[in-house]
């Protein structure tokens, strides 16, 4: 925009192009009536104002930065670095081969091993990854979806066993969400490698196993974040995630588990986007809806079963490759939204996210962002500080109503798994992502430094990006081949045969997966055995 035109606009009065929230709710100029919901208290059912009475006065949220790249050894170094900088929990990301259940020498992953996260194929890898980290004192989130979540968790359990730590003492989370883990959540990403029904079943097997054996462990992180990153709005994000979580819970009850046995170990993973008040209201509405679903629909008696607990990652979709330093400001505001919304743990997305995995410096900046909010702003010193705000209470009620309407619609169509398989979710995502693109392209959705206030003469930013060791993928390939050659073949074969039979018979896969992993099976071998058992082969 020319300077002349800008001056004109300033003279006319600079104002927003519209008065809608990101999800399209029209905001009134001001609100005068005090909403009745303000009578709720933090720490009391339905927990709209937070799951604890004193919230961060008693304990800050966990600073849990996602991390993982290259070999397990390299990743271990970064984990120790993050803990030294003040991270209070770990968040392990693996590369695509690991997530999808393949070993690093599979041809599809040529040139990509260790790139999107760390490469884990064997029990030795898992031991290296967690070297020097006390598994009963530091909580870790393991970002793996079914069916690979089963061997991945089995390896984690085997490492703990070798160190003499019982499963019941482990603290952390397995993401284990069958439908929403893969970026974009496009149907092809979810259905290409395993049928949806099988992934859901293994996910439930893992949840059931954790419920029985790992009482301090979170059995699932229902992944709303990755869906939100496609461009859907806050209402869709909440309605999709809550519908899916409800369905997981109902299926666990159908397996004979009591709601109070597992509900307090279910957790969520949600986004904090740019619309500050709407995001705070979204989290408040999700807490209220989840509590009521658990108590009124599923009969949970324990208050803890009604807690909507969520990890938050600040949204990367509004971050930009152009003028990347602006992302530091965006992430700080999003992190504040997560704190004001009462999150249990936060990953602040790095400003260089568009270009690469975080460098040490950008990782540290993310932790510092959270520390500045936690230690300098005093926003942590009273629970639910926006509770009772006319706007936030009104938005909470409005979002709750809109989310419930969409959840009823999903239920009427057969539930989330069913509408997902039918392509309905895909359609919603497709429409949302194109609408988002169009709004950015047309300028209806202002993005500073991209479609407005863009410095056409600015040079490309000089940034130090994280770079990979060039030899790493090749080394990983050699390693896994050498590893396979030195195992006891008969014991391994017997364990894989037992796994194949149990999988085909519909038994819980976790016990035979544990045995297979102890016998030296790789993640790729376990998942290939799954495929053989159900007669599923991947094309191409």
């Amino acid at each position: 925009m020319s300077t002349d035109r800008l001056f004109d606009r300033y003279l006319e009065g600079e104002r927003p192009a519209d008065y809608r929230t990101l999800s399209g709710i029209e905001l009134p100029p001001f609100l005068a009536d005090r909403p009745s919901a303000a009578a709720e208290r933090p720490g009391e059912y339905p927990f709209t104002r937070g799951i604890h009475t004193e919230m961060y006065r008693q304990r800050l949220w966990t600073r849990r930065q996602q991390s993982g790249y290259g070999t397990p050894r390299e990743s271990n170094e970064r984990l120790h670095y993050l803990l030294r900088q003040g991270a209070t929990g770990l968040n392990i990301d693996t590369d695509m081969a690991t997530k999808l259940g393949f070993d690093p020498d599979h041809p599809l992953f040529e040139g990509e091993v260790g790139r999107q996260g760390t490469s884990i194929a064997t029990l030795e890898d898992m031991e290296q990854l967690f070297d020097g980290i006390p598994l009963d004192r530091v909580s870790s989130t393991l970002i793996v979806q079914p069916p690979a979540s089963a061997p991945f968790l089995a390896m984690y359990l085997a490492v703990a066993r070798r160190r003499g730590i019982p499963p019941s003492a482990l603290i952390g989370t397995i993401m284990n969400c069958a439908l929403t883990q893969l970026a974009g959540a496009t149907q092809q990403a979810i259905t290409h490698f395993f049928p949806i029904d099988f992934s859901v079943r293994v996910g439930l097997d893992v949840m059931e196993y954790c419920t029985r054996e790992m009482r301090r462990w979170n059995i699932v992180n229902v992944n709303a974040y990755n869906m939100r990153e496609t461009g859907i709005n806050a209402i869709q994000e909440a309605a999709f995630a809550l519908s899916l979580a409800l369905e997981y819970a109902e299926r666990l009850i159908a397996r004979g588990l009591d709601a109070d046995a597992f509900a307090q170990r279910m957790a969520f993973f949600t986004a904090a986007h740019m619309d500050l008040f709407e995001e705070v209201a979204k989290l408040r509405a999700m807490r209220r809806i989840w509590a009521r679903l658990m108590r009124e629909r599923l009969g949970a008696k324990d208050d803890r079963s009604c807690w909507f607990r969520t990890a938050i990652q600040t949204a990367a979709l509004p971050l930009t490759a152009q003028e990347p330093l602006n992302n530091i400001v965006r992430a700080a505001i999003q992190t504040l939204a997560a704190v004001l919304g009462g999150s249990q743990s936060i990953h602040t997305t790095s400003y260089d996210e568009a270009y690469a995995l975080p460098s040490e410096a950008s990782h540290r900046l993310s932790i510092r962002t959270q520390q500045v909010i936690g230690y300098e702003t005093n926003v942590v010193k009273s629970a639910d500080p926006l509770g009772g705000s006319h706007l936030v209470e009104w938005l909470t009620g409005r979002l709750e109503a809109d989310i419930l309407t969409m959840m009823d619609d999903i239920r009427a169509r057969g539930g989330f798994v069913s509408v997902f398989k039918a392509g309905w979710v895909e359609q919603q995502i497709r429409e949302a992502r194109f609408e988002h693109m169009d709004r950015v392209e047309s300028g209806d959705q202002p993005v500073v430094g991209v479609n407005c206030f863009r410095d056409e003469e600015a040079e490309e930013p000089k940034m130090e990006f994280f770079a990979y060791e060039q030899e790493m993928p090749e080394a990983r390939m050699r390693y896994v081949r050498e590893y396979r050659a030195r195992r006891q073949a008969p014991a391994l074969q017997a364990a894989l045969d037992a796994l194949r039979r149990a999988t085909a018979a519909g038994e819980n896969v976790m016990p035979p997966v544990l045995a297979a992993v102890e016998a030296g099976a790789t993640i790729g071998e376990v998942c290939r055995t799954f495929g053989e058992a159900i007669g599923h082969t991947v094309e191409g």
């Binding site: 081969a97 992953f109 040529e110 990509e112 974009g184 930009t320 270009y355 992502r433 191409g540």
Partner: protein, 143 residues
């Protein structure tokens, strides 16, 4: 109008950009064959052969654009499609841009590429190839 093959290579499933570009090109009057996710370079080259593609585009976010592009370029040459322009979409650092140009990439479309610029650039590439093909065939250029 031209026939354009677009694809994601390897395990990188970030397809927001490529699906948007596919739509822009279709709306711009081109015939787009989008090969979807999880392709090997060999599969993309086969599709390009079968479809008699005028242009091939690959999209990279979390994969290594230089590695993916080198493999794609070599594979296209291997099946006799060395003259088909190869374009790359995605986030490419300045260092990688230099490397991609050396590999003979016809155009790179990064974040913030406007619809009109993309369509103009593709039209320019297609016109140049038609011209070059005509010259090689010894027939007068249509222009």
């Amino acid at each position: 109008m031209a026939r354009i093959v677009l694809a994601k290579l390897g395990s990188d499933a970030h397809d927001l950009g490529v699906t948007a570009v596919a739509r822009w090109l279709r709306e711009g009057g081109h015939e787009v064959v989008y090969a979807g996710l999880y392709n090997t370079p060999e599969r993309v080259a086969q599709i390009a052969l079968q479809e008699d593609a005028d242009l091939v585009g690959v999209s990279c976010l979390s994969s290594d654009p230089v590695y993916a592009t080198r493999r794609m370029r070599q594979t296209l040459e291997g099946v006799g499609l060395g003259r088909v322009p190869l374009v790359v979409g995605g986030v490419v650092t300045p260092d990688m841009k230099v490397e991609l140009s050396r590999l003979g990439v016809a155009a790179i479309f990064g974040p913030g590429t406007r619809r009109e610029r993309l369509l103009e650039s593709i039209a320019g590439l297609l016109a140049a190839t038609t011209h070059a093909r005509a010259a090689a065939d010894g027939t007068p250029s249509p222009r």
